[in-house]
Symmetry: C5
Subunit: 80 residues, 5 copies
Amino acid sequence: MIQARVTGKVWSTRRVTSLPRGALLEVETDSGSKLIAFDPLGCDTGETVLVTQGSVAAGYFQGETVPVDALIIGSIDDKK
Amino acid sequence: MIQARVTGKVWSTRRVTSLPRGALLEVETDSGSKLIAFDPLGCDTGETVLVTQGSVAAGYFQGETVPVDALIIGSIDDKK
Amino acid sequence: MIQARVTGKVWSTRRVTSLPRGALLEVETDSGSKLIAFDPLGCDTGETVLVTQGSVAAGYFQGETVPVDALIIGSIDDKK
Amino acid sequence: MIQARVTGKVWSTRRVTSLPRGALLEVETDSGSKLIAFDPLGCDTGETVLVTQGSVAAGYFQGETVPVDALIIGSIDDKK
Amino acid sequence: MIQARVTGKVWSTRRVTSLPRGALLEVETDSGSKLIAFDPLGCDTGETVLVTQGSVAAGYFQGETVPVDALIIGSIDDKK
């Protein structure tokens, strides 16, 4: 997984129908890489999150075949 | 997913038969990475799009086994 | 796989329920890339570990569908 | 997918038996990344091709489990 | 696939039980990226090899679910 910070939100009205409704957040890693991740947790801008990528992100939507390759799976509390 | 801008289109006449007919768009990220993505939405050059990658892109073509590893899944409206 | 050094630990209280309980370690490669990997072995900070990525990391959790895309699969003894 | 130019060919006599017989071409992207891709189309050095990567490349070999993670799926005609 | 040179070997005594017994080689690409790959072919340091990555690497171990995401699938003879 990667640790990233939520930097914004994107909207897409014209989209494939298999993309689930829900928040699409822009996240950025410490090294400056940017991704758009599906957010099932209701995270806010500025929050530090854990993002999983690839087919395991889509596996979260059990029973559906969704084209999601990046998913926020946790909000990071603290780091030691 | 990644956010990218459509910068062009490619054609491939000599191709494997399992590659579906449809537009193959060249897209570029803010950091300058280029990809060729399958476009089921009819996007135009200059449009900002959401691209999914890997096996979940191929999963969009349900019931078929297609060699597509990058798919445009939405046109991005706006960003806040 | 990649070889990396354990540099810390992260906690995530607010998380998706399918993320298994267990240690989430921050690891860093020689080239400076950072990842968060699930650790089933109880590794310590400073330890050099072997990390597998992608869907094979999730495959470790047989019978469950977990959103884990990075897994520590060994502690590296020595290198020749 | 990525667009790349064929820059050479590699031969491997000592190989795992599940690697199919066929051409293994070296390809290079505009940014200088190099890959070795399986070529079912008979492409020539200098040709610009479309390359798919990951498990969808292996999916091309239906009914067989092959260790191929990069496949040439088309020769690019032209670009606009 | 990527072409890489074998630069060393790693040992891991403390490991997950699903990691198969066999050589784990350190390989390096021309651009300096390093990976640890499982080697079923008995390659030597200095040898140039072909490495496949991701879930297709694990697919080599048919009937088993192994956490291997990089596999040496051939020794490269020569390059033209």
